[in-house]
Amino acid sequence: MQKSVENPSALRHLNKLRWLVLSLIFLMLVLLPFIHLYQTYVAAHAYDLLLPNEKLIYDAMEWLTGPFTNDPEHELDIIKGTTWSGTLFGFQLSDPLAVVSQVSASLSLYWPFILTGLIPLIVTLVLGRVFCGWICPATFIYELNDTLAAWMRRAGVPLGDKIYDKRIKYLVLIAGLVFSMLLGSIMTAAIYPPAIIGRELYYAVAQGAFGSGAVFFILTILFDLLVARRGFCRYLCPGGALYSLLGRYRLLRIQRVVEACNDCKKCNVVCEFGLDPLQDGFGQECNNCTACIAVCPTDALVFKIQFQDQAFQGPGHLGHAYRNQQTEAEK
Protein backbone atom coordinates (compact mmCIF):
# COMPACT_ATOMS: atom_id res chain seq x y z
CA MET A 1 0.00 0.00 0.00
CA GLN A 2 2.70 2.38 1.01
CA LYS A 3 4.59 1.72 -2.19
CA SER A 4 1.64 2.46 -4.42
CA VAL A 5 1.10 5.85 -2.76
CA GLU A 6 4.69 6.82 -3.34
CA ASN A 7 4.55 5.74 -6.99
CA PRO A 8 1.02 6.51 -8.07
CA SER A 9 -0.08 4.54 -11.08
CA ALA A 10 0.07 6.30 -14.44
CA LEU A 11 -3.63 5.64 -14.91
CA ARG A 12 -4.30 8.38 -12.37
CA HIS A 13 -3.28 11.01 -14.87
CA LEU A 14 -5.86 9.83 -17.39
CA ASN A 15 -8.44 12.07 -15.74
CA LYS A 16 -6.28 15.11 -16.47
CA LEU A 17 -5.90 13.89 -20.04
CA ARG A 18 -9.67 13.56 -20.22
CA TRP A 19 -10.13 17.15 -19.08
CA LEU A 20 -7.61 18.25 -21.69
CA VAL A 21 -9.54 16.38 -24.41
CA LEU A 22 -12.87 17.80 -23.22
CA SER A 23 -11.51 21.35 -23.13
CA LEU A 24 -9.89 21.01 -26.55
CA ILE A 25 -13.09 19.72 -28.13
CA PHE A 26 -15.13 22.50 -26.54
CA LEU A 27 -12.54 25.04 -27.68
CA MET A 28 -12.75 23.62 -31.21
CA LEU A 29 -16.52 23.99 -31.19
CA VAL A 30 -16.09 27.64 -30.22
CA LEU A 31 -13.32 28.21 -32.75
CA LEU A 32 -14.90 26.54 -35.78
CA PRO A 33 -17.66 29.16 -36.23
CA PHE A 34 -15.03 31.91 -36.01
CA ILE A 35 -12.94 30.07 -38.59
CA HIS A 36 -16.03 29.88 -40.78
CA LEU A 37 -16.51 33.63 -40.42
CA TYR A 38 -12.85 34.14 -41.34
CA GLN A 39 -13.29 31.94 -44.41
CA THR A 40 -16.28 33.97 -45.56
CA TYR A 41 -14.32 37.20 -45.12
CA VAL A 42 -11.43 35.74 -47.11
CA ALA A 43 -13.82 34.57 -49.81
CA ALA A 44 -15.30 38.05 -50.07
CA HIS A 45 -11.90 39.63 -50.79
CA ALA A 46 -12.92 42.84 -49.05
CA TYR A 47 -10.91 43.32 -45.87
CA ASP A 48 -11.26 47.08 -46.03
CA LEU A 49 -15.05 46.88 -46.01
CA LEU A 50 -15.24 44.84 -42.79
CA LEU A 51 -16.50 46.33 -39.56
CA PRO A 52 -13.93 46.85 -36.77
CA ASN A 53 -15.07 43.73 -34.84
CA GLU A 54 -15.03 41.69 -38.03
CA LYS A 55 -11.50 42.89 -38.70
CA LEU A 56 -10.59 41.73 -35.20
CA ILE A 57 -11.94 38.24 -35.94
CA TYR A 58 -10.14 38.24 -39.28
CA ASP A 59 -6.80 39.20 -37.72
CA ALA A 60 -7.12 36.76 -34.82
CA MET A 61 -8.03 33.85 -37.06
CA GLU A 62 -5.33 34.75 -39.54
CA TRP A 63 -2.82 34.67 -36.70
CA LEU A 64 -4.17 31.32 -35.47
CA THR A 65 -4.46 29.49 -38.76
CA GLY A 66 -1.73 31.25 -40.68
CA PRO A 67 1.04 28.77 -39.78
CA PHE A 68 -1.03 25.84 -41.05
CA THR A 69 -2.48 27.02 -44.33
CA ASN A 70 -1.86 29.27 -47.29
CA ASP A 71 -5.36 28.92 -48.71
CA PRO A 72 -7.72 29.42 -45.76
CA GLU A 73 -10.82 29.65 -47.92
CA HIS A 74 -10.55 26.03 -49.04
CA GLU A 75 -8.01 24.27 -46.84
CA LEU A 76 -9.74 25.09 -43.57
CA ASP A 77 -12.70 23.01 -44.72
CA ILE A 78 -10.95 19.87 -43.49
CA ILE A 79 -12.37 20.24 -39.98
CA LYS A 80 -16.04 21.18 -40.01
CA GLY A 81 -19.10 20.46 -38.00
CA THR A 82 -19.84 19.33 -34.48
CA THR A 83 -19.84 16.12 -32.52
CA TRP A 84 -23.33 15.50 -33.88
CA SER A 85 -22.00 15.22 -37.40
CA GLY A 86 -18.84 16.55 -38.94
CA THR A 87 -15.99 16.06 -41.33
CA LEU A 88 -12.50 15.42 -40.01
CA PHE A 89 -9.67 15.24 -42.55
CA GLY A 90 -11.98 13.83 -45.19
CA PHE A 91 -13.74 11.37 -42.86
CA GLN A 92 -17.38 12.03 -42.24
CA LEU A 93 -18.34 11.07 -38.71
CA SER A 94 -21.82 11.09 -37.20
CA ASP A 95 -23.26 10.35 -33.82
CA PRO A 96 -24.89 6.89 -33.81
CA LEU A 97 -27.95 8.56 -32.29
CA ALA A 98 -28.19 10.80 -35.37
CA VAL A 99 -28.08 7.72 -37.59
CA VAL A 100 -30.70 5.84 -35.59
CA SER A 101 -33.01 8.87 -35.40
CA GLN A 102 -32.65 9.68 -39.07
CA VAL A 103 -33.49 6.11 -40.04
CA SER A 104 -36.54 6.11 -37.79
CA ALA A 105 -37.70 9.55 -39.00
CA SER A 106 -37.24 8.96 -42.73
CA LEU A 107 -37.98 5.20 -42.58
CA SER A 108 -35.35 4.60 -45.22
CA LEU A 109 -31.73 3.52 -45.23
CA TYR A 110 -29.35 6.03 -46.82
CA TRP A 111 -26.10 4.09 -46.65
CA PRO A 112 -23.60 6.93 -47.17
CA PHE A 113 -24.99 8.48 -44.01
CA ILE A 114 -25.31 5.28 -42.01
CA LEU A 115 -21.67 4.43 -42.72
CA THR A 116 -20.58 7.76 -41.18
CA GLY A 117 -21.75 6.34 -37.85
CA LEU A 118 -19.59 3.23 -38.22
CA ILE A 119 -16.36 4.47 -36.59
CA PRO A 120 -18.12 5.90 -33.48
CA LEU A 121 -20.12 2.66 -33.30
CA ILE A 122 -16.98 0.48 -33.30
CA VAL A 123 -15.30 2.74 -30.73
CA THR A 124 -18.38 2.45 -28.51
CA LEU A 125 -18.55 -1.33 -28.86
CA VAL A 126 -14.92 -1.65 -27.76
CA LEU A 127 -14.50 1.17 -25.26
CA GLY A 128 -18.06 1.58 -24.01
CA ARG A 129 -19.75 4.88 -23.34
CA VAL A 130 -16.53 6.90 -23.81
CA PHE A 131 -18.32 9.60 -25.81
CA CYS A 132 -20.13 10.73 -22.66
CA GLY A 133 -16.98 11.06 -20.58
CA TRP A 134 -14.29 12.00 -23.05
CA ILE A 135 -15.82 13.85 -26.01
CA CYS A 136 -19.28 15.24 -25.27
CA PRO A 137 -19.09 19.06 -25.12
CA ALA A 138 -22.07 19.08 -22.76
CA THR A 139 -20.14 16.93 -20.28
CA PHE A 140 -17.57 19.72 -20.09
CA ILE A 141 -20.23 22.17 -18.95
CA TYR A 142 -22.15 19.67 -16.81
CA GLU A 143 -19.02 18.70 -14.86
CA LEU A 144 -18.16 22.36 -14.25
CA ASN A 145 -21.77 22.78 -13.17
CA ASP A 146 -21.36 19.81 -10.83
CA THR A 147 -18.26 21.41 -9.32
CA LEU A 148 -20.24 24.62 -8.82
CA ALA A 149 -22.95 22.59 -7.08
CA ALA A 150 -20.33 21.05 -4.76
CA TRP A 151 -19.05 24.52 -3.84
CA MET A 152 -22.57 25.77 -3.25
CA ARG A 153 -23.33 22.79 -1.01
CA ARG A 154 -20.16 23.48 0.94
CA ALA A 155 -21.28 27.10 1.34
CA GLY A 156 -24.56 25.88 2.79
CA VAL A 157 -26.92 26.33 -0.13
CA PRO A 158 -29.47 23.52 -0.08
CA LEU A 159 -29.53 21.85 -3.51
CA GLY A 160 -31.64 18.90 -4.54
CA ASP A 161 -29.97 15.51 -4.82
CA LYS A 162 -32.84 13.32 -5.93
CA ILE A 163 -32.31 9.80 -7.18
CA TYR A 164 -34.54 8.50 -9.96
CA ASP A 165 -34.63 5.30 -11.93
CA LYS A 166 -31.78 5.29 -14.44
CA ARG A 167 -33.88 3.26 -16.87
CA ILE A 168 -35.99 6.33 -17.69
CA LYS A 169 -33.43 7.33 -20.29
CA TYR A 170 -34.02 4.17 -22.31
CA LEU A 171 -37.69 5.14 -22.41
CA VAL A 172 -36.64 8.65 -23.52
CA LEU A 173 -34.65 7.07 -26.34
CA ILE A 174 -37.60 4.95 -27.44
CA ALA A 175 -39.98 7.93 -27.12
CA GLY A 176 -37.58 10.03 -29.23
CA LEU A 177 -37.48 7.45 -32.01
CA VAL A 178 -41.26 7.05 -31.97
CA PHE A 179 -41.82 10.83 -31.98
CA SER A 180 -39.30 11.22 -34.81
CA MET A 181 -41.30 8.73 -36.84
CA LEU A 182 -44.70 10.24 -36.03
CA LEU A 183 -43.92 13.95 -36.18
CA GLY A 184 -41.59 13.84 -39.18
CA SER A 185 -38.56 15.53 -37.72
CA ILE A 186 -35.43 14.41 -35.86
CA MET A 187 -36.78 15.01 -32.35
CA THR A 188 -33.68 13.70 -30.57
CA ALA A 189 -31.60 16.48 -32.17
CA ALA A 190 -33.71 19.03 -30.32
CA ILE A 191 -33.02 17.63 -26.84
CA TYR A 192 -29.58 16.00 -27.16
CA PRO A 193 -27.18 18.36 -25.32
CA PRO A 194 -23.99 17.83 -27.42
CA ALA A 195 -25.98 18.44 -30.61
CA ILE A 196 -27.55 21.53 -29.02
CA ILE A 197 -24.18 22.92 -27.89
CA GLY A 198 -22.47 22.50 -31.25
CA ARG A 199 -25.41 24.07 -33.02
CA GLU A 200 -25.99 26.93 -30.61
CA LEU A 201 -22.32 27.93 -30.51
CA TYR A 202 -22.44 28.12 -34.29
CA TYR A 203 -25.69 30.12 -34.18
CA ALA A 204 -24.32 32.52 -31.58
CA VAL A 205 -21.09 33.21 -33.43
CA ALA A 206 -21.98 32.99 -37.10
CA GLN A 207 -25.73 33.62 -37.18
CA GLY A 208 -25.83 36.42 -34.64
CA ALA A 209 -28.02 34.95 -31.90
CA PHE A 210 -28.72 31.84 -29.85
CA GLY A 211 -31.64 29.68 -30.87
CA SER A 212 -34.27 28.11 -28.68
CA GLY A 213 -31.99 25.14 -27.97
CA ALA A 214 -29.96 27.37 -25.66
CA VAL A 215 -33.02 27.81 -23.46
CA PHE A 216 -33.47 24.05 -23.32
CA PHE A 217 -29.82 23.58 -22.40
CA ILE A 218 -30.08 26.14 -19.59
CA LEU A 219 -33.12 24.23 -18.32
CA THR A 220 -31.06 21.03 -18.21
CA ILE A 221 -28.29 22.84 -16.30
CA LEU A 222 -30.84 24.08 -13.76
CA PHE A 223 -32.25 20.56 -13.50
CA ASP A 224 -28.77 19.26 -12.74
CA LEU A 225 -28.09 22.00 -10.25
CA LEU A 226 -31.38 22.14 -8.38
CA VAL A 227 -33.05 18.76 -8.74
CA ALA A 228 -30.67 15.88 -9.38
CA ARG A 229 -26.90 15.72 -9.65
CA ARG A 230 -25.94 15.14 -13.32
CA GLY A 231 -29.65 14.47 -13.74
CA PHE A 232 -29.94 14.89 -17.46
CA CYS A 233 -27.08 12.52 -18.29
CA ARG A 234 -28.12 9.96 -15.71
CA TYR A 235 -31.84 9.85 -16.24
CA LEU A 236 -32.89 11.55 -19.47
CA CYS A 237 -30.21 11.65 -22.17
CA PRO A 238 -31.26 9.55 -25.19
CA GLY A 239 -27.69 9.45 -26.50
CA GLY A 240 -26.41 8.20 -23.17
CA ALA A 241 -29.04 5.47 -23.33
CA LEU A 242 -27.94 4.39 -26.80
CA TYR A 243 -24.27 4.44 -25.87
CA SER A 244 -24.98 2.46 -22.69
CA LEU A 245 -26.76 -0.21 -24.69
CA LEU A 246 -23.95 -0.37 -27.25
CA GLY A 247 -21.30 -0.45 -24.53
CA ARG A 248 -22.94 -3.23 -22.54
CA TYR A 249 -20.41 -5.84 -23.70
CA ARG A 250 -17.48 -3.46 -24.06
CA LEU A 251 -13.96 -4.85 -23.98
CA LEU A 252 -12.25 -2.26 -21.79
CA ARG A 253 -13.57 -1.98 -18.26
CA ILE A 254 -12.52 -0.29 -15.04
CA GLN A 255 -12.42 -2.97 -12.34
CA ARG A 256 -11.69 -3.03 -8.63
CA VAL A 257 -8.65 -4.88 -7.27
CA VAL A 258 -10.04 -6.16 -4.01
CA GLU A 259 -6.56 -6.74 -2.49
CA ALA A 260 -5.74 -3.02 -2.76
CA CYS A 261 -9.12 -1.52 -1.86
CA ASN A 262 -9.60 0.04 1.57
CA ASP A 263 -13.37 0.72 1.35
CA CYS A 264 -12.91 4.49 1.53
CA LYS A 265 -15.89 5.09 -0.80
CA LYS A 266 -14.28 8.04 -2.58
CA CYS A 267 -14.98 6.38 -5.94
CA ASN A 268 -18.71 6.22 -5.26
CA VAL A 269 -18.79 9.87 -4.26
CA VAL A 270 -16.84 11.11 -7.26
CA CYS A 271 -18.69 9.03 -9.85
CA GLU A 272 -20.69 11.45 -11.99
CA PHE A 273 -23.05 8.74 -13.09
CA GLY A 274 -23.95 7.50 -9.62
CA LEU A 275 -22.44 4.07 -10.09
CA ASP A 276 -21.11 1.86 -7.33
CA PRO A 277 -17.43 0.98 -7.95
CA LEU A 278 -17.00 0.10 -4.28
CA GLN A 279 -19.22 -2.95 -4.73
CA ASP A 280 -18.08 -3.73 -8.28
CA GLY A 281 -21.26 -2.15 -9.63
CA PHE A 282 -19.98 -0.63 -12.87
CA GLY A 283 -22.47 -2.02 -15.35
CA GLN A 284 -23.24 -0.78 -18.84
CA GLU A 285 -23.45 2.86 -17.82
CA CYS A 286 -19.80 3.30 -16.83
CA ASN A 287 -18.21 5.59 -19.38
CA ASN A 288 -14.57 4.83 -18.53
CA CYS A 289 -14.07 8.46 -17.51
CA THR A 290 -11.33 7.45 -14.98
CA ALA A 291 -12.47 9.97 -12.35
CA CYS A 292 -12.63 7.10 -9.82
CA ILE A 293 -9.12 5.96 -10.77
CA ALA A 294 -7.80 9.47 -10.20
CA VAL A 295 -9.40 9.75 -6.78
CA CYS A 296 -8.54 6.27 -5.45
CA PRO A 297 -5.88 6.64 -2.71
CA THR A 298 -4.64 3.05 -2.99
CA ASP A 299 -4.74 2.55 -6.78
CA ALA A 300 -7.30 -0.20 -6.39
CA LEU A 301 -9.08 0.62 -9.67
CA VAL A 302 -7.47 -0.56 -12.89
CA PHE A 303 -8.41 -1.15 -16.53
CA LYS A 304 -9.04 -4.74 -17.48
CA ILE A 305 -9.91 -6.34 -20.79
CA GLN A 306 -12.95 -8.54 -20.29
CA PHE A 307 -16.50 -8.72 -21.56
CA GLN A 308 -18.25 -8.73 -18.21
CA ASP A 309 -17.91 -7.14 -14.81
CA GLN A 310 -16.61 -9.10 -11.88
CA ALA A 311 -19.19 -10.19 -9.34
CA PHE A 312 -19.02 -8.46 -5.94
CA GLN A 313 -15.67 -9.49 -4.46
CA GLY A 314 -16.44 -8.65 -0.87
CA PRO A 315 -14.99 -5.82 1.23
CA GLY A 316 -11.57 -4.42 0.34
CA HIS A 317 -8.64 -6.19 1.94
CA LEU A 318 -7.23 -2.98 3.42
CA GLY A 319 -10.47 -1.95 5.06
CA HIS A 320 -11.91 -2.49 8.55
CA ALA A 321 -14.70 -4.78 7.41
CA TYR A 322 -12.29 -7.29 5.89
CA ARG A 323 -9.97 -7.18 8.92
CA ASN A 324 -12.89 -7.84 11.26
CA GLN A 325 -13.97 -10.76 9.09
CA GLN A 326 -10.44 -12.21 9.28
CA THR A 327 -10.14 -11.86 13.03
CA GLU A 328 -13.57 -13.45 13.48
CA ALA A 329 -12.55 -16.30 11.19
CA GLU A 330 -9.36 -16.80 13.20
CA LYS A 331 -11.36 -17.05 16.41
Binding site: A44, G81, Q92, A189
Partner: protein
Protein backbone atom coordinates in the same frame (compact mmCIF):
# COMPACT_ATOMS: atom_id res chain seq x y z
CA UNK B 1 -58.60 -5.08 -5.38
CA UNK B 2 -57.48 -6.49 -8.73
CA UNK B 3 -58.91 -3.49 -10.53
CA UNK B 4 -57.11 -1.06 -8.25
CA UNK B 5 -53.86 -2.90 -8.93
CA UNK B 6 -54.52 -2.66 -12.67
CA UNK B 7 -55.25 1.06 -12.48
CA UNK B 8 -52.12 1.62 -10.43
CA UNK B 9 -50.00 -0.25 -12.98
CA UNK B 10 -51.48 1.66 -15.90
CA UNK B 11 -51.03 4.92 -14.02
CA UNK B 12 -47.39 4.14 -13.29
CA UNK B 13 -46.66 3.33 -16.93
CA UNK B 14 -48.48 6.47 -18.06
CA UNK B 15 -46.43 8.56 -15.63
CA UNK B 16 -43.24 6.96 -16.96
CA UNK B 17 -44.31 7.68 -20.52
CA UNK B 18 -45.04 11.30 -19.65
CA UNK B 19 -41.68 11.63 -17.88
CA UNK B 20 -39.91 10.18 -20.90
CA UNK B 21 -41.64 12.48 -23.39
CA UNK B 22 -41.38 15.59 -21.21
CA UNK B 23 -38.03 16.77 -22.71
CA UNK B 24 -39.45 16.50 -26.22
CA UNK B 25 -42.52 18.45 -25.19
CA UNK B 26 -40.39 21.21 -23.66
CA UNK B 27 -38.18 21.39 -26.75
CA UNK B 28 -41.25 21.52 -28.94
CA UNK B 29 -42.82 24.31 -26.88
CA UNK B 30 -39.62 26.34 -27.13
CA UNK B 31 -39.82 26.31 -30.92
CA UNK B 32 -43.42 26.96 -31.92
CA UNK B 33 -44.60 26.48 -35.47
CA UNK B 34 -44.76 29.89 -37.17
CA UNK B 35 -45.69 30.31 -40.80
CA UNK B 36 -43.15 32.44 -42.63
CA UNK B 37 -43.66 33.92 -46.09
CA UNK B 38 -42.61 31.30 -48.62
CA UNK B 39 -40.34 33.57 -50.64
CA UNK B 40 -38.32 34.32 -47.49
CA UNK B 41 -37.69 30.64 -46.80
CA UNK B 42 -36.51 29.03 -50.01
CA UNK B 43 -34.90 25.57 -49.90
CA UNK B 44 -31.20 24.96 -50.32
CA UNK B 45 -29.80 23.80 -53.68
CA UNK B 46 -30.03 20.04 -54.08
CA UNK B 47 -32.62 19.74 -51.31
CA UNK B 48 -35.25 17.03 -51.36
CA UNK B 49 -38.22 18.31 -53.33
CA UNK B 50 -40.78 17.73 -50.60
CA UNK B 51 -40.40 19.97 -47.54
CA UNK B 52 -41.76 17.28 -45.18
CA UNK B 53 -39.30 14.73 -46.52
CA UNK B 54 -36.53 17.28 -46.06
CA UNK B 55 -37.47 17.72 -42.40
CA UNK B 56 -37.39 13.93 -41.98
CA UNK B 57 -33.96 13.61 -43.60
CA UNK B 58 -32.18 16.64 -42.10
CA UNK B 59 -30.40 15.89 -38.80
CA UNK B 60 -29.90 19.64 -38.14
CA UNK B 61 -26.14 19.39 -37.82
CA UNK B 62 -25.56 22.82 -39.38
CA UNK B 63 -22.77 21.67 -41.70
CA UNK B 64 -24.40 23.30 -44.73
CA UNK B 65 -24.23 26.63 -42.93
CA UNK B 66 -20.69 26.09 -41.77
CA UNK B 67 -19.27 25.65 -45.27
CA UNK B 68 -21.32 28.32 -47.05
CA UNK B 69 -18.89 30.98 -48.43
CA UNK B 70 -21.41 33.86 -48.66
CA UNK B 71 -23.05 32.73 -45.39
CA UNK B 72 -26.48 32.67 -46.99
CA UNK B 73 -27.70 29.52 -45.20
CA UNK B 74 -29.84 30.43 -42.22
CA UNK B 75 -31.59 28.15 -39.74
CA UNK B 76 -35.01 28.11 -38.14
CA UNK B 77 -33.44 28.78 -34.78
CA UNK B 78 -36.47 29.66 -32.70
CA UNK B 79 -39.48 28.53 -34.66
CA UNK B 80 -40.50 25.88 -37.07
CA UNK B 81 -42.22 23.05 -35.20
CA UNK B 82 -41.12 19.99 -37.15
CA UNK B 83 -38.75 22.09 -39.25
CA UNK B 84 -36.84 23.40 -36.24
CA UNK B 85 -33.11 23.92 -36.91
CA UNK B 86 -33.46 23.07 -40.59
CA UNK B 87 -31.69 25.36 -43.08
CA UNK B 88 -33.24 27.82 -45.49
CA UNK B 89 -32.12 30.75 -47.59
CA UNK B 90 -33.59 34.23 -47.49
CA UNK B 91 -32.38 35.62 -50.83
CA UNK B 92 -33.39 39.17 -49.97
CA UNK B 93 -30.76 39.10 -47.22
CA UNK B 94 -28.08 36.96 -48.83
CA UNK B 95 -28.34 34.83 -51.93
CA UNK B 96 -26.87 31.46 -52.88
CA UNK B 97 -23.84 31.51 -55.18
CA UNK B 98 -24.38 27.91 -56.41
CA UNK B 99 -20.97 26.77 -55.20
CA UNK B 100 -22.05 23.16 -54.46
CA UNK B 101 -20.31 23.10 -51.07
CA UNK B 102 -23.42 22.44 -48.97
CA UNK B 103 -24.51 19.60 -51.25
CA UNK B 104 -21.10 17.99 -50.95
CA UNK B 105 -20.84 18.29 -47.18
CA UNK B 106 -24.35 17.19 -46.22
CA UNK B 107 -24.00 13.78 -44.57
CA UNK B 108 -27.61 12.78 -45.21
CA UNK B 109 -29.78 12.61 -48.31
CA UNK B 110 -31.38 15.95 -47.41
CA UNK B 111 -28.97 17.65 -49.84
CA UNK B 112 -27.53 15.61 -52.68
CA UNK B 113 -25.03 16.69 -55.31
CA UNK B 114 -26.78 17.52 -58.56
CA UNK B 115 -25.65 19.51 -61.63
CA UNK B 116 -26.18 23.23 -61.19
CA UNK B 117 -28.61 23.47 -64.09
CA UNK B 118 -30.82 20.84 -62.43
CA UNK B 119 -31.04 22.72 -59.13
CA UNK B 120 -34.60 23.69 -58.30
CA UNK B 121 -34.83 26.17 -55.45
CA UNK B 122 -37.79 27.82 -57.15
CA UNK B 123 -38.02 30.38 -59.91
CA UNK B 124 -37.64 34.15 -59.92
CA UNK B 125 -40.90 36.01 -60.31
CA UNK B 126 -40.98 39.62 -61.39
CA UNK B 127 -43.74 41.96 -60.28
CA UNK B 128 -44.08 44.17 -63.31
CA UNK B 129 -46.00 46.76 -61.31
CA UNK B 130 -42.99 47.37 -59.09
CA UNK B 131 -39.92 46.84 -61.27
CA UNK B 132 -39.17 50.33 -62.49
CA UNK B 133 -38.00 49.55 -66.02
CA UNK B 134 -41.44 47.98 -66.42
CA UNK B 135 -43.33 50.76 -64.64
CA UNK B 136 -41.79 53.90 -66.08
CA UNK B 137 -39.23 52.79 -68.63
CA UNK B 138 -36.41 53.35 -66.13
CA UNK B 139 -32.85 52.19 -66.62
CA UNK B 140 -31.64 49.28 -64.45
CA UNK B 141 -30.80 45.75 -65.60
CA UNK B 142 -29.01 44.78 -62.35
CA UNK B 143 -30.75 41.38 -62.21
CA UNK B 144 -29.78 40.48 -65.74
CA UNK B 145 -26.17 41.47 -65.18
CA UNK B 146 -25.75 39.53 -61.91
CA UNK B 147 -27.39 36.28 -63.03
CA UNK B 148 -24.81 33.45 -62.88
CA UNK B 149 -26.66 31.44 -65.53
CA UNK B 150 -26.75 34.29 -68.02
CA UNK B 151 -28.98 33.94 -71.06
CA UNK B 152 -30.51 30.69 -69.82
CA UNK B 153 -32.30 32.27 -66.88
CA UNK B 154 -33.10 35.93 -67.42
CA UNK B 155 -32.96 38.34 -70.32
CA UNK B 156 -34.23 41.70 -71.49
CA UNK B 157 -37.47 41.44 -73.36
CA UNK B 158 -37.17 42.02 -77.09
CA UNK B 159 -36.84 45.65 -78.09
CA UNK B 160 -37.37 46.84 -74.52
CA UNK B 161 -33.80 46.82 -73.50
CA UNK B 162 -34.07 47.31 -69.72
CA UNK B 163 -37.23 45.31 -69.00
CA UNK B 164 -36.19 41.95 -67.50
CA UNK B 165 -38.06 38.70 -68.09
CA UNK B 166 -37.30 35.36 -66.43
CA UNK B 167 -36.84 32.24 -68.53
CA UNK B 168 -37.43 28.57 -67.65
CA UNK B 169 -33.72 27.94 -67.08
CA UNK B 170 -33.80 29.90 -63.82
CA UNK B 171 -32.81 27.70 -60.85
CA UNK B 172 -33.92 30.18 -58.16
CA UNK B 173 -30.56 31.04 -56.63
CA UNK B 174 -31.90 34.48 -55.77
CA UNK B 175 -28.93 36.64 -56.67
CA UNK B 176 -31.27 38.91 -58.65
CA UNK B 177 -33.38 39.30 -55.49
CA UNK B 178 -30.33 40.30 -53.46
CA UNK B 179 -29.05 42.79 -56.01
CA UNK B 180 -32.36 44.42 -56.89
CA UNK B 181 -32.17 48.10 -55.84
CA UNK B 182 -35.94 48.61 -55.66
CA UNK B 183 -36.95 48.59 -51.96
CA UNK B 184 -40.33 46.98 -52.59
CA UNK B 185 -38.57 43.81 -53.84
CA UNK B 186 -40.18 43.32 -57.24
CA UNK B 187 -38.34 40.00 -57.67
CA UNK B 188 -38.91 37.09 -55.36
CA UNK B 189 -38.21 33.38 -55.53
CA UNK B 190 -41.43 31.38 -55.71
CA UNK B 191 -42.39 27.80 -56.50
CA UNK B 192 -41.90 26.90 -60.14
CA UNK B 193 -45.63 26.36 -60.65
CA UNK B 194 -46.44 29.97 -59.79
CA UNK B 195 -44.85 31.31 -62.95
CA UNK B 196 -42.39 34.07 -63.70
CA UNK B 197 -44.81 37.02 -63.71
CA UNK B 198 -46.60 38.10 -60.53
CA UNK B 199 -50.35 37.69 -60.95
CA UNK B 200 -51.36 40.86 -59.18
CA UNK B 201 -50.78 44.52 -59.51
CA UNK B 202 -51.36 47.05 -62.25
CA UNK B 203 -49.62 45.20 -65.06
CA UNK B 204 -51.84 42.13 -64.91
CA UNK B 205 -54.95 44.28 -64.57
CA UNK B 206 -53.97 46.27 -67.60
CA UNK B 207 -53.70 43.03 -69.57
CA UNK B 208 -57.22 41.98 -68.65
CA UNK B 209 -58.87 45.15 -69.98
Amino acid sequence: MKRRRFIQTVGAYAALGVAASLPYGVARMLSPHLQAAEHEHIPLPGALADADEFARACISCGLCGEVCPPRCVEFKQRDGGSDVNTPYINPAKKACVLCNKCMEVCPTNALTVIPILDVDMGIAQIDRAACYPWVDEGICGACVVICPLGEKAIHFTFANIYKPAVLDGCVGCGQCVEVCPEPSLPIRIVKRSEGTIAKHGVASRRRSY
